[in-house]
């Protein structure tokens, strides 16, 4: 019983991180129909910035989140201006998807190699005084960094939800998501909405990077793995359903974690890919499709 609760807790913590990783990816995909392969690299860069702030100036990784978000926001704007905006001349969504896939794949190569140049290929992580501390919950142990990651993921998901529901900008984003042509006929500056969404998506990647560098570790080539996870979560949540990303991430995390009770932990990645394929085959619009 204890082992089950322990695995469940680990699943929830990991799942929250998965949803955090997927939020920015899902935002760009939902709003602009762009597949941003570079999202994984953005996560890694966010992690390295936090690593630098910690090792060079001793800034606590969680306190560095605003600074990391700001840097990454700027990078998101650059990505949009340089790589994505030119693709808007393709009016049909399918054309945008495959063109953006190719372009951001190239961006990933550039970024990953730049990261290797700057930070060397070594694996890095941030280890603070509290990194090893744990809590007891219902007889199971939960690490402090894991718990913090969980709280951050939930806060970020709620913040994004409120931004999209309550603010003018959020309503513009949703209108542009549903029908960009009708949005601009209603006076929405769709290009600007896209630009800022891109910045926000990159900032979210930065937050994920901070959580990863303080609870796991990062290496220059690690981005693609996180990207894969983000894709699985988005398929589970259903494209364009940003509100479903948190539950989808949690489900994936718990599924993976619970599987270790039955099969070897080495199968965690295959299991998420099996889920990915099963969902695509039987619920192509996501696990929660049909509930409005």
């Amino acid at each position: 019983m204890n082992a089950v609760i322990q695995t469940l807790l680990i699943g929830i913590v990991v799942g929250a991180l998965y949803s955090l990783v997927a939020l920015g990816f899902g935002l760009i995909m939902g709003v602009m129909r762009f597949v941003n392969i570079a999202h994984g690299s953005f996560i890694i860069i966010g992690g390295y910035i936090a690593y630098w702030l910690f090792t060079l100036w001793g800034i606590d990784p969680y306190l560095s989140i605003p600074a990391v978000m700001l840097c990454m926001f700027g990078m998101g704007l650059l990505l949009y201006k340089l790589a994505l905006a030119p693709l808007l001349k393709y009016p049909r969504a399918e054309m945008r998807i495959d063109k953006s896939l190719l372009i951001t794949f190239g961006v990933t190569w550039i970024l990953d190699n730049a990261v290797t140049l700057v930070w060397t290929p070594d694996t890095r992580s941030v280890i603070t005084s509290y990194s090893g501390s744990t809590f007891d919950i219902l007889g199971a142990r939960l690490g402090f960094v894991g718990l913090t990651g969980l709280v951050i993921a939930i806060l970020v998901a709620i913040a994004l939800h409120l931004l999209l529901r309550k603010t003018y900008f959020g309503k513009h984003v949703r209108a542009a998501t549903e029908d960009s042509g009708a949005a601009s006929l209603s006076g929405v500056n769709v290009q600007r909405t896209y630009l800022i969404s891109c910045g926000i998506a990159a900032a979210l990647a930065g937050v994920a990077g901070v959580v990863i560098v303080s609870s796991y570790s990062i290496a220059p080539s690690g981005g693609l793995n996180w990207l894969l996870t983000a894709m699985v979560v988005i398929v589970l949540a259903g494209e364009g359903n940003i509100g479903h990303i948190l539950p989808a991430g949690l489900i994936l995390g718990v599924l993976q974690s619970m599987s270790t009770l039955v099969v070897s932990p080495a199968y965690q990645q295959p299991i998420s890919l099996i889920v990915f394929i099963l969902v695509l085959m039987f619920r192509p619009n996501g696990l929660f499709a049909g509930r409005g």
Partner: protein, 240 residues
């Protein structure tokens, strides 16, 4: 107020409008009639900024529109209720209206405009929280027009006003159009398949055929003209 002079408009390589000119004065309802594919919607799109004319100019109160992006045109005071309504189906009715008030001056007056639109279309207040995708055809058209009104336009474009609506819904929407035109001095450019309805609503009419303007005049005169009767109203020419 709106002055379209000699525009040619293309869909990719295919020319859809030839040398089209049109004038709309303050507070006028102008109807654009013609058969399917005559270029009515193309003309609307050129004014709203979703298509660029290749030659000629569109000027609204001294501002050149034909080089502005669509959302800037909304800022100048022109807003379109597009063909097929094009609502945001997964957003609530209230949110659809709020998106309509996106431009700066409309944002400031949002609450008053919302009260006014609710007064014009009471059903939009009653169903405020409902998703736009769940509305009937007539209600969707009301919401599309309401959303356009939220931007506080001085010229409202309505493309295919009654397409797919019941005669009763079409009638009640025409009533509203008359009312907002009279109460707010709002100019309206109307594309409407029902020529009788279109011309009875309007002050002036334009007739389009194969991408060209082939006739114009006061709506009442057009309604009585033999050509219009024969071509669009199903009357036969009287036997000589």
């Amino acid at each position: 107020m709106l002055e379209i002079s000699g525009i040619d408009v293309f869909h990719d390589d295919l020319q859809a409008l030839w040398d089209v000119s049109m004038t709309i004065d303050d507070g006028q309802i102008v109807s654009l009639v013609g058969s399917n594919g005559a270029g009515k919607s193309t003309l609307m799109q050129a004014v709203a900024g979703t298509l660029r004319p290749k030659t000629g100019s569109i000027v609204f109160d001294g501002v050149r529109l034909d080089r502005l992006p669509a959302h800037k045109i909304v800022e100048t005071g022109i807003c379109m209720a597009p063909e097929g309504r094009r609502l945001f189906p997964r957003m609530s009715i209230l949110e659809n209206l709020e998106v309509g008030a996106s431009v700066k001056k409309a944002r400031r007056a949002r609450q008053e405009t919302l009260d006014w639109v609710h007064e014009v279309f009471p059903i939009l207040r009653a169903r405020s929280g409902q998703k736009a995708g769940t509305l009937s055809g007539g209600e969707q058209q009301m919401l599309a027009i309401g959303r356009a009104l939220m931007s506080l336009p001085r010229l409202l474009l309505i493309d295919e006003m009654s397409l797919g609506l019941s005669p009763i819904a079409a009638q009640s929407i025409s009533e509203v159009i008359r009312r907002v035109n009279a109460s707010r001095m709002l100019a309206i450019l109307l594309v409407e398949q029902d020529v009788q309805l279109a011309l009875s609503l309007a002050h002036r009419g334009y007739v389009m055929e194969n991408g060209r303007i082939v006739g114009q005049g006061p709506a009442a005169e057009l309604l009585c003209s033999e050509e219009i009767k024969e071509a669009y109203l199903g009357f036969r020419k009287a036997q000589q």
